[in-house]
Point group: none
Chain length 221, copies 2
Amino acid sequence: MSESTDNYLKHLFALSQHNQAGISTSALAQKLDTRAASVTGMLKKLHRDGLVLHTRYKGTVLTARGRRIAAAIVRRHRIWECFLADYLGFGWDKVHDMAEKLEHVQSEELIDRLDQLLGFPTVDPHGDPIPGKDGKLPAASGQLALSETRPGDRVIIRGARSESPDFLQHLSSIGATPGVALWVKQVLPFDRSVVVRIKNNLHTLSAVAAAALVVSKNRMP
Amino acid sequence: MSESTDNYLKHLFALSQHNQAGISTSALAQKLDTRAASVTGMLKKLHRDGLVLHTRYKGTVLTARGRRIAAAIVRRHRIWECFLADYLGFGWDKVHDMAEKLEHVQSEELIDRLDQLLGFPTVDPHGDPIPGKDGKLPAASGQLALSETRPGDRVIIRGARSESPDFLQHLSSIGATPGVALWVKQVLPFDRSVVVRIKNNLHTLSAVAAAALVVSKNRMP
DNA sequence: ATTATTTATTAGGAATGCCTAATTTTCTAT
DNA sequence: ATAGAAAATTAGGCATTCCTAATAAATAAT
Ligand SMILES: [Mn+2]
Ligand SMILES: [Mn+2]
Ligand SMILES: [Mn+2]
Ligand SMILES: [Mn+2]
């Protein structure tokens, strides 16, 4: 298991959280900041090694074994983030990059003792849940619908509560996809539409849309 | 800077401590557990990059730049070992392998904050000195191997010249850990084994073990 | 349904870093 | 001085992991 395969599994795991279907090669390439061709090559190896199921031109899903390993990586990442924040005083804008390296140190005993030192935290400094030793993620906390936010809030998009292609396509067209930051500018009183800013562009989401868009006030791993 | 080059520099640094002349390719290969041919190839790259001076068929010495980087790696390694021992309760036979990975996480701020958390230690759990931020190694004074002592001497254990978990675990099992007092009872003539008393118990250490156990005759450093 | 566009895969190649086997240089012992 | 041994290097490969360019498949538009 190399750092590279670790990162592939970790991002597949993250993308799987808000994707029913298989993960697309391009989505993974984007997360990993590599080219799609490289991703295809790696997916073939992960498939050969029984960590993912990859169907040519379709998509990729983690196997139980791949998911178990990925959860362990995310667990390490987030426990290290807790340590960096709680014991070394780093802010949540600093902890991620360091944890990005520390997560690859494979020692279960090391992580278990860190976990104990930290008092068995359940969320990392970004509010994201820490997988348990069994690989299970505590139910996502700190998530809410965009309709529950108030003007001034800065949130991160987590996903959608609808599979409606129309709705999802509309969100994509305005750049509202998981991981993207969103500023709540105002909530129109007469129909509760929400005006938001996404990357310097203003967009208006209906109350129905806002109720179906899941956001959180925290960052991702 | 890869983990590989890190390890080359680190071992060159360690070998330089007890070697006036340039380091031989085979000595380095042995420490790194690789083949001499691989070492030659890497040395050419390190030379090209200005980290070592390598003279064909002669030997290799670190440049000032190479030495500075190597000292930083050793500093990280030993500070991590202190953390693992002091905060996570790992024994000196366990810390080395984990630090072997942690040392490659490159963040000066991370190490400086760890250093502060630990109270700026000057030696690691094996009694080895921790290079300062300037790359300077505190000189170990009054230290000698147990094999250099004579019956009747009373010494304090300072550390070990091996990271072998088997060896360190054995020492721990007889109570021979840094700071502990030890009386030299006799040196067996036929194989130079050393019989010592530790807290009212007699133990016999082979000549090989005695040569790897570092002690001092003075109280505290 | 056919074409155009987007997405994904294959082909071919580069950099690392390791290996074994062959060769060259240096050292040692006669 | 010279043969033999030891040490180091070069030659030739292999596995990873990434890249760009060319091709193929799937999806969207007409
Ligand atoms: Mn990472
Ligand atoms: Mn996080
Ligand atoms: Mn290492
Ligand atoms: Mn040590």
